[in-house]
């Protein structure tokens, strides 16, 4: 149901843009107003979410330790999986954010007869990391539309990405790989009954938005050509705040439409994991809570419990019978207080 709904949303988006630009000619609305609004939503929304998280304290150090703690000198510890210092935490986070360390650990459990078998299962890691890095590269590549002169490094990325010189204009590797990765991420949600069971519309929708974004981009580059000079004049206008919507094919506006939808959807969805991953207390803290006294929760009070003296009063008889010593200090203190 979720997948159908998401698909309909995406189709509706294409239709709306098509009608809006192709038929009604509302280039200003779809080329300027909506993208600006979407970008603003993205920026403000994400900052708002971040502040929302930041306002909540982290009362306990609930590190998930995936390696040996620091203890005795001669015990080899795992600095990356059980970080003791903040520097090691940074390394752990870098590994997590840039290499998807935890996902790399993934296993697949299978019940074969009476035995549970575990095997390494890195496809999800591969799909995820391929997708994320391609997305980032594509994003960076697009910087050529927002800069003049285009920085050498952007051009270099462009060259590397089109290294194989397939077709004309050259096919970007990232375009091909991101399509494959997206397809994998999508198909596994449909094909694996467990994933199908847990997947919601909000899992399919961003996938479809990105699909739409990528496909419209590829179509524009290789099939339905648009005048790229006009496009760049427009994008440069956007960042200089006097945009003139280009008179180019609807495909461009569909591309922009998907981008706007994605940006606007970002802060309200699971996509906030982009920033949230940095704030996960099981990963971003040092496993040194026995060595360092960390700041307790703002609401922390010394816990109220039955003190020894209260307890001794209760079990006085039993203590005496068992020959256990009574603490005279209890009575001294009492005397003082009274």
């Amino acid at each position: 149901m979720g997948v159908v709904f998401s698909f309909l949303v995406v189709m509706a988006l294409v239709l709306v843009v098509y009608l809006g630009v192709g038929v009604a000619g509302l280039r200003g609305l779809f080329g300027v107003v909506i993208p600006y609004a979407a970008f603003l939503t993205f920026l403000v929304g994400m900052v708002y979410r971040l502040i929302g998280w930041a306002k909540v304290p982290v009362p306990f150090r609930i590190v998930t330790t995936c390696g040996q703690q620091k203890s005795l000198r001669w015990v080899k510890r795992s600095r990356l999986e059980s970080p003791y210092t903040n520097f090691e935490v940074v390394l752990r986070m870098l590994l997590e954010v840039f290499a998807f360390r935890s996902l790399f650990r993934n296993l697949k459990a299978e019940l074969k007869g009476p035995n549970l078998i575990y095997g390494s299962y890195k496809w999800l890691w591969l799909g995820a990391i391929a997708f994320h890095y391609c997305f980032l590269t594509i994003l960076i590549r697009h910087f050529r539309f927002f800069s003049y002169p285009v920085p050498k490094v952007i051009q270099l990325i462009d060259q590397i990405d089109s290294f194989f010189h397939i077709g004309l204009p050259h096919l970007y590797m990232t375009d091909a790989v991101i399509l494959a990765a997206l397809t994998f991420l999508f198909v596994r949600r449909l094909a694996d009954p467990r994933l199908r069971y847990i997947s919601l519309a909000s899992d399919y929708l961003p996938l479809f938005f990105i699909y739409g974004l990528v496909i419209s981009g590829i179509l524009m580059r290789h099939f339905f050509k648009v005048d790229v000079v006009q496009v760049k004049q427009f994008t440069m206008g956007l960042v200089h705040f006097h945009p003139v919507p280009p008179k180019v094919g609807v495909i461009f506006y569909i591309h922009i439409g998907f981008l706007s939808a994605l940006m606007a959807y970002f802060p309200f969805s699971k996509l906030v994991h982009m920033l949230g991953v940095f704030l996960s207390p099981t990963r971003n803290l040092a496993n040194n809570s026995r060595a360092v006294r960390h700041k307790p929760a703002p609401w922390w009070k010394k816990p109220k419990f039955k003190t020894y003296c209260e307890w001794q009063e209760m079990f006085k008889e039993a203590l005496e019978q068992a020959g256990l010593p009574l603490d005279e200090d209890c009575y001294k203190d009492k005397g003082k207080k009274q």
């Binding site: 995936c66 935890s102 996902l103 019940l111 919601l200 949230g276």
Partner: protein
């Protein structure tokens, strides 16, 4: 207690394919015997001041929730979202990638899709969306949102008491989402409307009032230990004294109360006492802080802090220098991760732990002043302070179960293995994917080790048992060593069910078996029995 199916029948019922019906429409769960725990008795709730005490049963249609239960729950959610970043972030960033799905032992043992960690979290996440966000209110099910109903409370009760807070899923989650946090919040919310289980709250109440989970009164504690000392005398030929409530001792020793009288925990307890006697350690036990474990962890952050606090309080009163904690799983998660921030600073009289035997300073415990007995013993062995004869454990072919809490809440892997490799000659680890940070729960953690929950316990323990079975078949393993009191009880039941020829023991039981006392060395009275008073060598049994 429900009748248990045979192991091979139980395996046949495990199916990982989820049902056709959408999970949001599939509530409430069926409360089948053996799959849920009995509710807390009203007098217990009253005694510890928990709300809504009443007689009820999960199988009832009406759970007698307070009239404003919905408001209470929603306020409770909002309150917790503003207090715990873990909870808030985890509720926001899950992408439902499914990496956690087949990591949960309850899922692997039951195939119940709501035991997939992702869905366990979704049980609350969907309510947050549906009740507290405009997107959820607007798009409903499409946004993964649903309304809070009594059936949802029933579902929560069922599934948050089918999670043993083992955190295995958290290891594999790309964002480190920790289902333990979610379950803790879920249980706290359930407490607010009086839905809780007796097996947890009675120990909590006992701990608050008497001093330990089992409710052993001071004289009982002392007597139990004395019985153990007699047994020690049988085995060792020497009489040992155990100091209680001794002011001015150097070390306070706390251990879970299960070790006072439950088999096979008592052998571990004997192990500690023998070791301390061997060293001539200046230590004391306490009949007031007579509990190392902390069922508060399974209840609420407040309850946990409250139980913890007694240990520092006692350490202050007795004027000890530092604290050694016994072999216990969840106890060590609490002592390691919560002792300081939840309970508060260690009393001033405590010093950074320093082994009086080897002089090793335990820098990594310089704030909480509390070390694990295995850290202590491993250090002794590393310094050659113990005369050990590992051949005394030759009849044991040992594997080691990493308890969830020290593994994933502390990073405690090498110390116990180091000890085991020095006290016995036959040690084999279980397959890599089932040990260390990937270890499997005994199936009975987080206060679920109760008999009425037996079917789920056996299901949840299946992955662990299966790995034990593997090393049994491959290496002839007959002993499963662990460092957790709940494990010692729960794994025994689990092994009896799945892998009947494997027994369970604590690490220090094996240490004491191997420990060579001077009078034994001199041949004055050689050791012939192990702590269980069985002949050291099987052939001796045949001869006798």
């Amino acid at each position: 207690m429900a009748k248990m199916p045979k192991p091979e029948e139980l395996i046949k019922t495990i199916d990982y394919t989820p049902p056709e019906k959408d999970w949001m429409d599939d509530i409430p769960p069926k409360f089948l015997p053996g799959r849920y725990c009995y509710p807390a008795k009203p007098h217990i709730l009253e005694e510890i001041g928990f709300p809504n005490p009443r007689e009820w049963s999960p199988t009832d249609e009406d759970w007698k929730l307070p009239p404003n239960w919905k408001e209470i729950i929603l306020d409770g959610i909002k309150d917790r979202l503003s207090k715990y970043r873990s909870f808030k972030v985890f509720m926001d960033i899950c992408v439902r990638c499914g990496a956690c799905a087949d990591k949960c032992h309850y899922f692997l043992g039951s195939g119940d899709p709501k035991n997939m960690p992702v869905l366990r979290a979704e049980l609350i996440r969907s309510i947050i969306k549906g009740e507290l966000t405009w997107q959820g209110k607007l798009f409903g099910k499409l946004a993964g949102a649903r309304k809070l109903t009594q059936d949802v409370i029933k579902e929560w009760f069922y599934y948050y008491y089918q999670c043993s807070e083992c955190r295995r899923c958290s290891v594999f989650c790309p964002y480190g989402i920790d289902t333990c946090e979610v379950t803790m919040m879920g249980r706290e919310l359930l407490h607010l409307v009086g839905c809780n289980i007796n097996w947890i709250l009675e120990p909590v109440r006992n701990c608050f009032i008497i001093g330990n989970h089992l409710g052993l009164q001071p004289h009982t504690v002392k007597e139990n230990i004395e019985y153990l000392c007699w047994d020690i005398e049988e085995v060792l030929g020497i009489k040992i004294e155990v100091p209680f409530n001794k002011k001015g001792a150097e070390i306070l020793f706390v251990t879970p109360s299960g070790d006072y009288f439950a088999d096979p925990g008592i052998y571990t307890m004997m192990g500690y006492l023998i070791l301390f006697h061997y060293l001539g350690l200046d230590y004391t036990m306490s009949t007031y802080a007579s509990e190392g474990g902390n069922f508060g962890l399974f209840t609420s952050h407040e309850a946990m802090a409250k139980i913890n606090a007694k240990i520092y309080h006692e350490a202050e009163r007795l004027g000890v220098k530092f604290i050694i904690g016994g072999e216990c799983g969840h106890m060590w998660r609490v002592k390691h991760q919560y002792m300081d921030t939840a309970t508060g600073p260690a009393p001033k009289n405590l010093e950074t732990p320093k082994s009086p035997i080897t002089g090793t300073v335990f820098e990594h415990a310089k704030s909480t002043k509390m070390i694990h007995i295995c850290e202590f013993t491993a250090d002794l062995i590393a310094h050659g302070k113990l005369k050990l004869d590992p051949s005394r454990n030759d009849k044991y072919i040992v594997t080691y179960h990493d308890s969830c809490n020290p593994s994933r809440g502390m990073g405690f892997f090498e110390e116990p293995r180091f000890i085991l490799k020095h006290v016995c000659n036959n040690f084999y680890d279980m397959p890599e994917n089932t040990i260390r940070e990937k270890t499997f729960c005994c199936g009975s953690g987080s206060g679920l080790n109760t008999d009425e929950f037996m079917e789920m316990r056996m299901r949840g323990g299946f992955p662990r048992a299966n790995a034990v079975q593997y090393v049994r078949d491959k290496h002839g393993v007959n002993t499963l060593a662990c460092i957790c009191a709940i494990d010692r009880a729960a794994l025994t039941t689990l092994m009896n069910y799945w892998v009947p020829d494997v027994q369970v023991c604590g690490v220090h039981e094996l240490v004491a078996n191997a420990l060579v006392f001077p009078h034994e060395e001199s041949g004055e009275r050689p050791r012939t029995m192990d702590l269980r008073q069985q002949p050291l060598k099987p052939e001796d049994e045949e001869n006798a």
